[in-house]
Symmetry: none
Subunit: 222 residues, 2 copies
Amino acid sequence: MATSTVENYLKEILVITLEEDVAKVPMGQVAKVLGVTPGTATSMAKSMERDGWIRYFPRVGVSLTKKGRKLALSMLRRHRLLETFLVETLGLDWSEIHVEAEELEHAISEKVLEKLDEFLGRPRFDPHGDPIPSKGGVIQQLASKPLSEFKKGAGVRIESIVDQDKEFLHFARKSALVPGQIFKITGKEDCADAITLKTPKGKILNLGYRSAEKILALPCEA
Amino acid sequence: MATSTVENYLKEILVITLEEDVAKVPMGQVAKVLGVTPGTATSMAKSMERDGWIRYFPRVGVSLTKKGRKLALSMLRRHRLLETFLVETLGLDWSEIHVEAEELEHAISEKVLEKLDEFLGRPRFDPHGDPIPSKGGVIQQLASKPLSEFKKGAGVRIESIVDQDKEFLHFARKSALVPGQIFKITGKEDCADAITLKTPKGKILNLGYRSAEKILALPCEA
DNA sequence: AATTATATTTTGACTAATCAAAATACTAGA
DNA sequence: TCTAGTATTTTGATTAGTCAAAATATAATT
């Protein structure tokens, strides 16, 4: 049985490998996303390797074993289903759900999760637009990319917001930068580090690259 | 901030003081309900006293401080609201909800709890019939009533014995008719003026109405 | 290649929670 | 009152998870 600390480590390692498409995650990064000192991450890596959750390559990083990946996917499923529940059923604010789900995901049993999934109508995407892994651990990977990588004139549909920062999420929602929303990229100035978006209704929006990188989108008809 | 272990100790101490109407709970009982060794309960008592959750009287027992009682009531509220949710909304089986709520109660925030309460229509009793403490920490005590007034099939928990007659008290104790004891009413014959009770262990007990009127009980799960 | 900077690991220490088993205090019966 | 039995506390040890700071390895720069 994994402790909830172990569950957190596994989930974060999975998210990094999915997002950055790397095989091994360096210890520094593990320490950073989990908010612990590097030494702590190293000692956790050792005990998690001892228990068969991960493989640990000294001075290089860690990767998930089959067993570890399975649990990590289960945690991601819990997290995203809970976020969906918190928004859809309880009406919580978008910006609050991450923290709440972070706690609940360790306490909810497989049985309750299944009931919840059924109650929610077996959703396949969470409120951020991120895919919810199936019960069997299959996760649908989207070929979405940051807004900053689209060309001028392209039509895009927002898929997800990468950043979990409360203020940024709040701003995003205020600006209709939410999953499913469609925009046209009307301007792109590399020198000015700025992108201009336009909604189908004609509303104009300006974003810096720093922000545009945090918003993933798929190409679509404008 | 209390750890979830501390939350569990507080909640169990509260439940005992409510059910048995005592001021101090002996360490042996604390150890038993929490499933730990007596030594563990003692050392927890000391550290919880240090942190102001309880008062610890060596060789006697513990009682809740104002701060401890407040948190204990909040835990009881969480627990009972969650049980209600699990039964009413997700349709879990009655026999499963306790264990599930036991885990979730430590992970759910005040904010989510309020939303859940609202979603459930602010219920005042949980599926077992136990009262749900209000947000402000007020718990409605159920008015107990004589055994003779329950219906056949009801689950009851003995609250008190009205009669002070020595012989009757002796008989009551021999028959396990003591506060806290749980029975199911398996038979009720108005004509024969008789009630049949059954303990969880299957022991059968017959009482006449004259006696049944002297025993006060609360509804509870059988 | 030598030096500097950065990332990682080690070491030693700490807290919370637990157990087993020995020691102690209390209680009830003879 | 003395003793036997029960309840409680102590003691010493263990595990998980953490930090700070020193030590070490690797990478980058001159």
